[in-house]
């Protein structure tokens, strides 16, 4: 179901634009360690953005800052040049690495985010969402009794039930088998095709190759590269990215083969 687009702005009819999304000199430290070091980044609407980097590079933190879960110590996050307000916040959704499911049935989890609809609308929308996620057969099953793959599909389906303009995904397939990973990737691809901006954190290079239009590569709390996916995989510019793609531990100041 494609969102109706305004011919002039390219955004949903009657809704003000929220892109580009800008992180402006964003900094965050904890325990004396600089976790985000004056990061500046601009994300536009149409592309699927994949954030990559080694453990501790600041990927998930950057995503949380963009989504508004963490307030940066310095800098700002701007949506179409202005700080986020309640409306902008309501047009975002996030899927976490560990599916954060309520102690309810699968359908109960979906209905939880459809509180703005009346009962019959919420029920029919829930059926539709679960069917699209391939979860109709387990609609009444307690969410926590679902398999890991089903749980993550439910978490993605619940996020998409919000019809977000931007969907943040923090390693959603980290503990999933290949089939479940493919199912989640299909949901992400479908969401992208219906106009939802995708921002995904992953360690899975194969997944990044399959999904990414552009790569943001982070190292040591900074953005080492922000480039088109093909360009990144064909010829990474930074030593950190080269080491990462080659499966080598990156030590700043040292490059293998030198």
């Amino acid at each position: 179901m494609l969102k109706p687009l305004d011919e002039n702005t390219g955004y949903g009819l009657g809704r003000r634009p929220i892109f580009p999304l800008d992180a402006c000199n964003v900094g965050f430290s904890d325990g004396g360690r600089q976790l985000l070091d004056r990061v500046s980044l601009t994300l536009t609407q149409g592309l699927k953005t994949v954030i990559m980097g080694a453990n501790g590079a600041g990927k998930s933190l950057l995503m949380r800052v963009l989504h508004g879960l963490v307030k940066p110590e310095v800098g700002a996050v701007l949506w179409a040049r202005v700080p986020a307000d309640a409306e902008v916040m309501s047009r975002q959704a996030m899927v976490f690495q560990k599916p954060s499911l309520l102690r309810r049935s699968a359908e109960g989890n979906i209905q939880f985010v459809l509180g703005h609809l009346n009962r019959s609308e919420a029920e029919s929308r829930t059926r539709e969402i679960l069917e699209r996620a391939g979860l109709s057969a387990v609609a009444r099953t307690p969410a926590r009794l679902l398999s890991g793959g089903e749980q993550q599909r439910l978490a993605v389906a619940r996020a998409l039930a919000l019809e977000p303009d931007i969907l943040f995904l923090d390693e959603p397939c980290a503990s999933l088998d290949p089939a479940s990973t493919m199912a989640v990737e299909e949901m992400i691809e479908t969401a992208h095709q219906t106009g939802t901006k995708i921002v995904l954190v992953t360690h899975d290079i194969g997944q990044a190759r399959r999904l990414a239009d552009e790569i943001v590569f982070m190292s040591g709390g900074r953005i080492a590269e922000h480039t088109a996916a093909r360009q990144f995989f064909d010829g990474p510019v930074s030593a950190a990215a080269r080491d990462y793609l080659a499966g080598r531990l990156h030590v700043p100041g040292y490059s293998a083969g030198t």
Binding site: Q92, L102, A143, L145
Partner: protein, 235 residues
């Protein structure tokens, strides 16, 4: 008659005979304690959930006071309610002293801090689990509290049963504000105290057996509820 075996047999006879006096006392005890626990849940569960969710200056102190009030001595609560409801007290005009309503008020005051404190502990863990999701969904405090109470309903049932256990077993508060008046405010615990002092050990023991039976039933209910909740992955 001081032979324990014959007292026990007499007590069992009373329990099985359907003695109207005995069952009148049991009925009043249940009515008072269940009503008090219902009121305490209405106040204590949202209060506990709010303390689990909302942060404000002095929250730690409020929690410390609430935890301390879990062990409120029933006689002190009884005394406070007595002072409030006595003829010269601020609510004396209502004429509630020595009525079941006064006993309900006293037990509700006794049990509310217990229910609020246990609910807070239980829901704080659940809130930790849901925190990022709630913040991502930009839920307000009221929505968070409602979701936590609903999703934590099984563990909160255990909390309510713990409150009922405290209410039904206490004697100090109800004897002060109820007065232990026959057919009006006499409940199991006050009757046991009176009958023991009068030497009617059979009736006291019969009531004691029923109290113990209720305590066992409450514990079995708690255990079954927890098992069911775990089986359904809702706990």
């Amino acid at each position: 008659m001081t032979d324990p075996a014959s007292i026990f047999l007499l007590a069992m006879g009373l329990v099985t005979s359907g003695n109207p006096e005995l069952y009148g006392i049991i009925w009043l005890s249940l009515r008072v304690s269940l009503t008090a626990v219902a009121i305490s849940c209405l106040i204590g569960l949202p209060l506990g959930a709010a303390l689990a969710v909302v942060t404000f200056p002095g929250r730690g102190a409020v929690i410390a006071v609430l935890n301390a009030f879990m062990g409120l001595p029933p006689v002190v609560v009884g005394l406070v309610v007595y002072l409030l409801l006595s003829r010269s007290g601020p609510f004396g005009v209502l004429g509630l002293l020595y009525t079941p309503t006064a006993m309900i008020i006293a037990q509700a005051l006794l049990v509310t801090p217990l229910i609020a404190a246990l609910a807070r502990q239980s829901l704080a863990d659940l809130h930790l689990e849901y925190d990022e999701l709630f913040r991502s969904l930009r839920l307000g405090a009221t929505d968070k509290i409602a979701a936590l109470i609903w999703d934590g309903r099984y563990s909160l049932s255990t909390v309510a049963l713990a409150g009922f256990g405290r209410a039904i077993a206490e004697v100090g508060a109800v004897i002060i504000v109820g007065g232990n008046i026959e057919h009006v405010t006499r409940v199991m615990t006050t009757a046991i105290a009176l009958e023991t002092s009068k030497g009617d050990l059979a009736l006291a023991l019969a009531l004691g057996l029923i109290l113990v039976g209720l305590a066992v039933a409450v514990n079995v209910a708690v255990l079954s509820l927890n098992r069911a909740a775990k089986r359904l992955a809702y706990a």
